[in-house]
Amino acid sequence: MDLSFTSDEIAFRDEARRFFRTEIPEAIRARAAAGEHLAREDIVTCQRLLNARGWAVPHWPREWGGRDWTPVQVYLYQDEMQRACVPPPLPFNTSMVGPVIAEFGSEAQKQHFLPKIANLDIWFCQGFSEPGAGSDLASLRTSARREGDHYIVDGQKTWTTLAQYADWIFCLVRTDPAAKKQEGISFLLIDMKTPGITVRPIVTIDGGREVNEVFFDNVRVPVENLVGAENRGWDYAKFLLGNERVGIARIGTSKERIARIKRLAAMEQDGERPILEDRRFREKLALLEVELKALEITQLRVVANERGRARGKPDPASSILKIKGSEIQQATTELLMQVVGPYALPYQSEPEAGSNEPPLGPEFAASAAPTYFNWRKISIYGGSNEIQRGIIAKAILGL
């Protein structure tokens, strides 16, 4: 038993650290660290830099740009990326639709889409959830009816993250209304410019526009945009969601945020002394560090177990990473808001370019409350924490 990394792993970590901190623009990383919303261009820029280095899709099959990294290397890459506040490659492209096309798509789909997905020449969004199909995803109702060489898609998707930036959407649609609910679903790729698609923003409680509703009204989709076999979409969706667990605990992000909280709490004064010297505050922070250390080791244990697991078949123990990882990330946003204190109150929309208006309160104050509000989402998305508990109860505890 040994928690230390080999010299090769340390060399790899140092290489990743150097790359993320020198090659990815400082300005973008600073905006990400401050909790500001990133522009489409920021995300595209970072992913293209990563792709040029061969690091946008390391977990893909080798022929499509994968690196055959060990689980430890994948862990170090993600950890260093998170600690450097580098926006990760767009998950809808690289963790979701990319691996599905690489595994189940036609040769023509692979040739056409995979390089563009890796380089973010095509931006995909995810069309899974519907108003009536959240945790119970298989009850989705958006339909695709075959008509000659086309499917005719009708229905509505929701919670579609960054659909306003997307070129394409990958959708789960019902192709056999008569079949048992999991068995009549197909996986379709749809060009967002197709007539009949309407995107409507949903403003979230932080005031941001991250998610949208997407309406499909008589949308004609060429049959060659079906991935894999008709009515097998549920299998592909399960494969996709299995890949989503990798790195979900975001230990590196929480470490970076705790370091930031310490820096700011050492600066902000409460009377004669910095907030960091308040005993109750320090104990809350210390407790969070304990839980984070425990989770980091739990994650390493899951990583060590990954040797020999089939791709797309996650260790059910990774549900622990989702539950605790989201709780810890949320707790960091609470502590950050506590440091900001009363200056978390003003609602400040993000300054427009060239604005001379000074911020209200300390310059790091504006994003504190919105980030706290926004991060309530992380225990909801990607399979809510209650769904994760269900997975553990069934798959590990046998209940």
């Binding site: 040994d2 792993e9 430890v72 320090r282 104990e283 407790l287 839980e291 209940l399």
Partner: protein, 378 residues
């Protein structure tokens, strides 16, 4: 980085687990507890035969040459078995002091009998006023001719009632909480001037209050600067207790799952109710987080940098204390009435976990110390 055990470590685990299965089920444990000492001499001899009493000592000194990972493996199995014997007191605590503070000659004189199971030692350190403050020693040692004499009152000496010899901490100089001026002294338990009052602890183990009135003693190592060795041994004991707690938590969780699957109410197994499933999952998350920190403690227990080691042990003790409390309380609740009875094993795990939280610094004490030291991430 790996979490695999070596072949030797696997064999060690299997043999200790087998012993627990064969000789330490709940009924057998009750029989062991009825022995006059409150634990089983026969099992103790078995530990000696298996080499467990020599586990942390160097092979050149007749030991097994095991490190903190081996100790973790043994303590986790002991936690499942909920053992009553003075392993922590004699091997981990007193044995640790022999390793870190005694001279080679003293070890040569004491270790063979300890490893063979013929002699048991205890560590008399805590005092009524000290709570968890390791430097708080009021007991004194004075030189008289060529001998040392000890005066003072020692509290909560784990398994102090059945030890043949006791290692006593005493002050040769300085004020009550000074870091300097503390020495370690070896005292025969039946020496003139020793008063012992043994008693059971809440978890069914044993302890003693020990009074010393001018008791003749031998110094272990050079008296005056013993605190770092004491702190080191307490850190090792914390790592060992974390592993024991994980064993107890794992067994208690398994017991609870069995109960959820077999107990029927409203015409079905109560484990089919989602509200109970999710609580069982939260217990599991606590168990796994605690297991991670017990591993961290084992891997840091040999760390030479005392500050880094203290932080790690404080962090581990905080996690174990919180997890053990939550898991223990939930286990009793999910069992319902049967969890409240002496006749059922769950409550005994709960009690041991509760006492582990109180030993060598409770959760709040360690959290405060960790916060004061600036946290874990530096």
């Amino acid at each position: 980085m790996d979490f695999d055990l070596t072949e030797e470590q696997r064999l060690l685990r299997e043999s200790v687990e087998r012993l627990m299965t064969d000789r330490y089920d709940f009924e057998q444990r009750r029989a062991h507890a009825r022995a006059p000492a409150g634990w089983s001499g026969e099992i103790w001899a078995q530990y000696a035969e298996m080499g467990l009493l020599g586990l942390p000592f160097a092979e050149a000194e007749g030991g097994f040459g095991g490190g903190p990972v081996e100790l973790m493996i043994v303590m986790e199995a002991f936690g499942r078995g909920l053992i009553l014997e003075p392993y922590l007191a004699s091997v981990v605590l007193a044995g640790g002091l022999l390793r870190h503070a005694a001279s080679a000659e003293q070890r040569a004189a004491l270790l063979p009998a300890l490893i063979a199971g013929e002699r048991r030692l205890a560590f008399a350190h805590a005092e009524r006023q000290a709570r968890y403050h390791l430097a708080d020693v009021a007991t004194t040692a004075r030189r008289e001719g060529g001998r040392w004499r000890i005066d003072g009152e020692k509290s909560l000496v784990l398994h102090g009632d059945s030890a043949q010899q006791v290692i006593v901490s005493a002050r040769i100089a300085g004020g009550r909480r000074d870091r300097d001026g503390i020495g370690l002294f070896l005292v025969d338990a039946d020496a003139p001037g020793v008063r012992r009052r043994g008693y059971p602890t809440q978890d069914g183990l044993r302890a003693a209050e020990i009074g010393l009135d001018g008791v003749e003693a031998t110094a272990l190592g050079e008296p005056g600067a013993a605190l770092p060795a004491i702190e080191r041994v307490v850190d090792e004991a914390i790592a060992a207790l974390c592993a024991e707690a994980v064993g107890a938590m794992a067994a208690l969780h398994a017991l609870t799952l069995d109960y959820l699957k077999t107990r029927k109410q409203f015409g079905r197994a109560i484990g089919e109710f989602q509200v109970l499933q999710h609580r069982a999952v939260d217990m599991f998350v606590e168990l796994e987080q605690a297991r991670s920190m017990a591993m961290f403690a084992a891997l840091m227990a040999g760390e030479a940098d005392a500050d880094a080691r203290h932080r790690a042990m404080a962090a581990a003790k905080v996690q174990i204390g919180r997890s053990g409390r939550k898991l223990g309380q939930e286990a009793i609740q999910l069992h319902g009435g049967i969890g409240m009875t002496m006749e059922y094993k769950a409550g005994h795990y709960f009690k041991r976990l509760t006492m582990i939280e109180l030993l060598f610094g409770d959760t709040d004490t360690h959290l405060a110390a960790l916060a004061e030291a600036g946290g874990l991430l530096v």
